[in-house]
Symmetry: C2
Subunit: 329 residues, 2 copies
C-alpha cells in the first residue's frame, strides 16, 4: 500500500467506493498497521474486505530489476500475485511506476502478440478526454510496438468510455506524411493500411487540446514529458489566474462569485478527476494511481480499475489484435 | 517574404522597427509587388531599406531537399545568400522551417565542431523565459548533438538575455540519473563532467513551468511536441476562462475590470511576445518567426534578430565550444 500518503488516504477512499460500487470487494495488501486500525476507524464492512500482510516497501528510487530480485514481500508484488493467482480481478497501486510495470509484466505476462505493455492516461479536452499512450513504460519504441499501442488504446477506450470507434491519431511534428522520425513514418504506414482502426492520421502537439482524437499514440519518453508538462502548465496558469484576480480590491470582494464561476473549469482540468492510468497489454488488470493522489483521486482510480476489470480488458485486447493482424496481411 | 500574412504584416512591422531601432537597415527580399507599394504606403525611409526581387515561393508542404535543388530564386534562399555574401548581418523568415534549416545549413555552413544546427525558442515562466532547444530541426539526435545543444543554448541565452550563467537542464522522464533513454543517460554524463556549463541535472515536464532552468535541452521531436502542446493548452485554457467568465451576468457586467486584471497574465503567456526562434550553430544569424505572426509578433522577431546579430552569436558559440571541449578532456 504505497503512494505519498499511504493507508490514511487509501482506506477512506476504499470505504467510500465500497458504499458506492455494489459488488465490489477489496483485498488490502500492506503492513498490518496502520491499515487494520484505519479499517476499524472507517468501519469497512468485514465481509467485503480481506487483508494480506506484507513486510517490505518499494521506494521511489528503487531500480525495477532490483525490486524484482530482492523485494519478494513488497505489497506491490504481493498485490499483483493476487491477480496472477485469481484471488483478485485487478490491482491498483500508487507506487513506483517502473517497478509496477516490471513486476506486472514478469508475474502476469503479456497478452499474446504484445511485445511490451503500455501505460495509458487521459488529458482533459473540452469536457471530454484525449487518451495518450505510452506514458513512460517504454522509452524507446519500435514501429511495431507503436502499432500495438494504437490497437490497445483503441480497444481500451472503446471499453472504458461510450465511444464506439475511437479516433486514433499518431503524435508527430507535422501533419504531412513525410514528417517525423523514421519510426513514426514507418508506423504511420502500418496505421494507414489498417482497416479495423479508426485512424485519423498525424496529431501535432497543439491538436491534443482541440478534440481531434480520442487516442493518441507516442513513445513513453514523449508521452511522459507531454503529460507532466501539461499538468505543470495547467497548475502554473491556475496560480497566475489566482494572483491576477486577488490583486484587485473589487475582484477580491467578488471572490465567492468568481470562484463559483471558475469552479467547473478548474474541475475539468483537475488531474485528480482523471486519475488511474491503465497498464495495457498485460494478462490481467493493473491500474496506476498518481503517487500524490488524495482520497478523491484514489476513489477515481478505484472506479477506473473496476471498469477495467468489468470489461475483461486483456481478453478484448487479444481478440482485437488478432483482427488487426489479419487486417494487415 | 513568407509567413501566412506576407508583406502586408511584414512591411508595417519593419516600418515600426526602423523607427525604434537606431542603426537598423533592412534588405527586403520578395516579389516586387505588393512589397514596393506597401513600402511607399508605410513611408519606409529609402536610405535604410533596399530591395532584392525574387520570383519563386516556398510552400508549407515543399520538401526541403527539393527546395534546395529546384527553387533557386525563392525569397528565403536569396535572403540567406545576403547573409552568406556579407550584404546582411542576419536573416529573418516566417516560412517553411525545414526548408529554412536546410538552406541555412547548406548556404552558410555550421560553426566549427557543430554537427547539426538547432532551433531554440522560449516558453514563458513566471515572467521570465525557459529556453528550449531543439524544436524540430533534428528529429533523431545523438548524445554528442544534445551536448552541443547545451553549449549553444547556454551561450545564446547568456548573449540574448542578462543571465550570466544560464542554468542548463536536460529534459528527462525522471530526476534520477538512471532514468531516460540510453542517449539521454549518455549526454547526462557528459554534462555532469563539464565544468564550464552551469548544468543543474534532469528537468521533468512539469518543472519546465517552475523556473528551474534557463535552458532545457531535448531532441527536436520532443521539443516540437512540447512547444506546440504548451501553446495549444494555453489557448484552450484561455478560451475556457473566457467562457466561464462570460457565462455569468454579473461577471459580464464586470467585463472591462476583469479584462484589465487578466491582461498582464494574458500578455505573459502570449506566444507573440516571445516570437523569434534562433537557429543556433550556423555560420551566420538566422531567425525563424511563427508562420502566423501578426505585425506585433514580427516586430518582436525583428528585435530578436537584431540582438542575435549584435552579439555575433556564431563566433561566441565557436569559442564556447572550444572551452567546453577542452573542459571534457
Amino acid at each position: 500500500m504505497g503512494g505519498d500518503f499511504g493507508p490514511r488516504c487509501i482506506i477512506p477512499a476504499v470505504a467510500r467506493c465500497l458504499q458506492q460500487i455494489p459488488g465490489l470487494s477489496v483485498v488490502l495488501v500492506g503492513s498490518p498497521e496502520p491499515m487494520t486500525s484505519l479499517c476499524q476507524k472507517h468501519r469497512l464492512p468485514g465481509d467485503r474486505i480481506s487483508f494480506v500482510h506484507t513486510s517490505e516497501t518499494i521506494l521511489a528510487n528503487d531500480l525495477p530489476a532490483s525490486v524484482l530480485r530482492n523485494k519478494r514481500d513488497a505489497s506491490m508484488r504481493v498485490a499483483i500475485e493476487q491477480v496472477r493467482d485469481g484471488v483478485a480481478d485487478g490491482c491498483l497501486s500508487a507506487g513506483n511506476t517502473g517497478a509496477l510495470m516490471v513486476l506486472s509484466k514478469t508475474l502476469l505476462g503479456t497478452v499474446d502478440g504484445i511485445q511490451r505493455p503500455a501505460i495509458m492516461a487521459a488529458l482533459p479536452v473540452a469536457g471530454k478526454f484525449c487518451h495518450v499512450l505510452d506514458l513512460g513504460a517504454n522509452v524507446d519504441c519500435s514501429a511495431r510496438q507503436l502499432f500495438e499501442f494504437a490497437v490497445m488504446g483503441s480497444e481500451a477506450v472503446a471499453e472504458l468510455t461510450d465511444i464506439q470507434q475511437p479516433r486514433v491519431g499518431l503524435l508527430n511534428i507535422g501533419g504531412e506524411i513525410n514528417k517525423g522520425s523514421l519510426r513514426v513514418r514507418e508506423v504511420s504506414e502500418l496505421l494507414r493500411d489498417s482497416r479495423t482502426l479508426n485512424y485519423i492520421g498525424h496529431i501535432e502537439g497543439h491538436e491534443l487540446f482541440q478534440d481531434r482524437a480520442d487516442v493518441v499514440v507516442c513513445d513513453g519518453f514523449v508521452g511522459n514529458v507531454l503529460l507532466k508538462a501539461s499538468e505543470g502548465l495547467a497548475s502554473y496558469m491556475q496560480a497566475e489566474l489566482g494572483r491576477a484576480l486577488s490583486g484587485n480590491f473589487i475582484l477580491r470582494l467578488l471572490g465567492p462569485l468568481l470562484r463559483r464561476a471558475l469552479k467547473p473549469m478548474g474541475e475539468r482540468l483537475d488531474p485528480d478527476r482523471y486519475n488511474g492510468a491503465v497498464l495495457l497489454g498485460l494478462q490481467g488488470v493493473v491500474v496506476k494511481s498518481h503517487g500524490n493522489a488524495d482520497q478523491y483521486a484514489l476513489e477515481v482510480a478505484i472506479a477506473q480499475a473496476v471498469r477495467a476489470c468489468q470489461s475483461d480488458m486483456p481478453q478484448r485486447i487479444a481478440e482485437r489484435l488478432v483482427r488487426c493482424r489479419s487486417d494487415l496481411l
